[in-house]
Structure formats: structure tokens, C-alpha cells
Subunit: 224 residues, 2 copies
DNA sequence: CCAAAAGTGTTTCACTTACACCCATGA
DNA sequence: TCATGGGTGTAAGTGAAACACTTTTGG
């Protein structure tokens, strides 16, 4: 099945990359890092880096996200592995991509805390990306879309209390189509995942919206 | 983002593993290889092996499948990457798992052609598996199940001409539940993916069934 | 003529979609 | 009082699920 480990051939390098989704200003955005060195110096790329020997993949992603952008996502899910030999011009690098959801309200206002220049970009207005990262983003978005119907993605993207309008906008952003207000409310309320709160939004010059929160118990019961 | 390649730390080894599905004797089976060496010498495992530098992941899987079991699958799809540091007792090995579909009628009757002992096992009667391969099989099965609704999996598992009964049995095997004959026929015929042939099964001591084939054009039109 | 599997329609139910107006609030 | 967004119900349509008998064939 495999040669003994101590006499095996050189193998590709292994990295992880993360597509970090967040909602900012009502828009779905992803976190990008500006590269400091060749190849693709100066262009934008997904946060990520090499996996250390003995390190779990998910831990590697969290370590890189923390150090590159000061971000601690609540949930991480694998998207796919990318292994085309020419995807990195230097040498063969296989990357395992993760999708992460973060609540921007929990993180330092906007950009990176630590070493590199980090910024949030609306998913429909991304700059040119290094390597095959545009492909990875496409796949991660597709995955997020398909999860939209099965799992309460809002729980990891919205603040703890939110009006239904924001949840609807989030779903519209992710699915890329506009939804009927009444149908959306019915389906999401009937699902039993939301908790109606006795609070309302700060008053504007119109009727203020009721706030909701996710019902943690009902949501975690879904996972099984 | 990453240290220069020539001064980076030692990184985990990289392998690919394949869950090869086939239909044999009306049952859904997967291909296993008996390991010849430690660890897990003598126990059954998924076919797979190390990825060579510069080699595409899918090519690596095909190479291993060809050499370990003489199998050439028509379609390969990624399942996930498995990276727990303790999944291989020797050292940290990250494996990218693929699911493959093969038509057993196209391959040498049963076991491996080449080097190792290979055999087909019904998915519901698998032996103990090495490493975390039982987990990988579970995930691959889950993926196959979810594809059942979207894609014509039969095209890669059944012979070119088959009675509807066989297709229904296949769907029942994969989904793990029994299906209503009339509803199944209606839905699969309405889908337009099948071509009704002017042939029937060899006669038994009962009415012989009409044969069908997949409409290649309609199927490939789906992929978009 | 009997055993064995092939083949065939209709009804019911749940779910999704489309659709328009009144209400509360602050400026 | 007006502009702005919050909040509400019903009807039609579409797709899934349940359900039983007749037909063909070879032995």
C-alpha cells in the first residue's frame, strides 16, 4: 500500500486556507490578506499557511487566522482539497480549504490585528485573487448556499439579537436571490429555531422591529 | 503568509485513499485491500497511497487503484481530507479521500489483478478497517446518498443495459430504505435520463423485463 | 394452471409560491 | 401628516407518498 515512511519520495507541501465569511453593514463579506512576498506579492489572497507536523488541520487554520487577522471563528468546515501541481508557481503545494463563519461584532472593528494587512470584501466585489483562490471562494460559497437550507447559518454570522429583516437579508445575500418577506418569516418561525424576545430595535423614524435570538437547544439538537 | 519553501518545517505526509463502490450480485459493495505490513498488517483497508511530488491528486488515486487492484473508475469525486495527527500510528499523515464508482462488469471478475489481495465487501457487512477508514467509508456513503437525488449514479455503477428493477435496487441499497415501485418508475422515467430499449432480459420462468440505458446526452447536460 | 416478477393510475397530503394592505413610529 | 419600514393571511400550484390489481411467461 505504501513504502516505509523513512524511504518515501519527496511529497507535496501541505497548507490550509480559509474562506472567512462575515456580515458587515448588511453585506456578506470575506476576509482577505494582502500578500507581502512573491509570488503574487501585493495581491489579495485567502488567509492560510503551512500545516505543522503533528498539528490538526483545524488547529492549523485557527492558528493562522488568529495570527494573520486576529479572527476566532465559531465554526469551521472543510470545503475541499486543492492539489493541482501548478497551482503554486514555486512548487507543488496541496491546500485544504475551510469555510469559517464569524460574527464581526465580536472582532476588532475591521482590519487585521496582527502582522499583515487584512480587509473585508463584499463577495460580489472581490479583487483579483492569488493562486486558485477565486476557485476556492466559489466552492466555499456554493457550500454555504447548500447549507443554508439545512443549517441555521445565521447563528454564527449575526449578533446574538437581531431583527428578522437582518436574517432575511443574510439569506438573500447568500442565496443570491430575493425572498418573499411573509414566506420567509413563516418558514423561519415555523422551524422553531428562533426565540422571540421582548426587545425591539433602537427606535428609528419608523416602527421599530422586534428582536429574535437563536434557540441554542433547538439548533444543537439539529446536528444529530 | 508562509515561510519561504526552502526553510519550512517538516510537514505531514500526504496520501490519497479511495472508497470504490461497485454493484455485485445486486448488492452495493466496496473494494478493500488486505494490508501486508505494519501497522495493521493483515487487516483490511481502503486502497490508496502516497502522493508524489508534482502529481495531481486524482492521478495519484488512479495510479494506486490501477496498481493495487486493477481498477479504472469512470468517475472520482473528493470526499474530504482527514488529518488527525494520531490517525496513523507511525507519524502524521494527512489523507485526501475520494469516492469512485466502477462497473464491475468491466473489470476482472473479482479480486485484484496486480500485487495485493483485494476483495469486494457488501457495505453493510464490512470487516474491521485499518486507520480511520471506517469513518471515511461512512462519509463517502453519506456523500453518495446525497448525490443520489441530484445525479444519475447508476450510469457509473450499472452495465450499459439494465432493467428498471436493478436501478431501483441500487437506489434502495444506497439510500438504505425501500422504495415504491410505481413512484420510482415514474420519477426516473419522467426525468428523461433513461432510454427505453427494444430489448428484454433473457427469459426466466416469468415475464421478462424491458431493458433501459442511460441517455448520455441528457446526463452530461445535467453537469452544467 | 400456478408461481414469480413485470407493469400500470389515482388520490391525498404537505410544502412552496405568489400576492397587497394596514400599522406603528419619529420627524 | 407623511415617509419609512414592520408586520400579517390566504389561495393556487407543485411535487412526494400511499396504495392493489392485472399481465406475461416458463415450468
Amino acid at each position: 500500500m505504501a513504502p516505509p515512511l523513512d524511504q518515501r519520495l519527496p511529497s507535496p507541501a501541505l497548507t490550509v486556507d480559509a474562506v472567512v465569511f462575515g456580515v458587515d453593514d448588511g453585506e456578506l463579506k470575506i476576509l482577505l490578506i494582502q500578500r507581502g512576498m512573491v509570488p503574487f506579492a501585493g495581491s489579495w489572497a485567502l488567509p492560510g499557511g503551512f500545516v505543522k507536523l503533528g498539528e490538526d488541520l483545524e488547529k492549523a487554520v485557527r492558528r493562522e487566522l488568529e495570527s494573520e487577522a486576529g479572527v476566532r471563528p465559531s465554526r469551521l468546515e472543510q470545503v475541499a482539497a486543492y492539489g493541482r501541481p501548478d497551482r503554486d508557481p514555486r512548487q507543488h503545494v496541496v491546500s485544504i480549504a475551510f469555510a469559517a463563519l464569524v460574527r464581526l461584532d465580536q472582532h476588532s472593528p475591521h482590519a487585521g490585528t496582527n502582522t499583515r494587512l487584512a480587509a473585508w470584501f463584499a463577495v460580489d466585489r472581490l479583487p483579483e485573487l492569488a493562486f486558485d483562490h477565486a476557485l476556492i471562494v466559489r466552492d466555499a460559497l456554493a457550500r454555504l448556499r447548500s447549507e443554508l437550507s439545512h443549517t441555521p447559518v445565521g447563528i454564527d454570522l449575526l449578533p446574538p439579537k437581531f431583527p428578522l429583516r437582518d436574517l432575511q437579508h443574510l439569506h438573500e445575500q447568500i442565496s443570491g436571490r430575493s425572498l418573499d418577506k411573509r414566506n420567509f418569516r413563516r418558514s423561519v418561525l415555523d422551524s422553531g429555531l428562533l426565540q422571540e424576545l421582548d426587545e425591539r430595535e433602537p427606535a428609528a423614524r419608523h416602527r421599530s422591529a422586534r428582536l429574535y435570538s437563536f434557540n441554542q437547544d433547538a439548533c444543537s439538537a439539529l446536528e444529530t
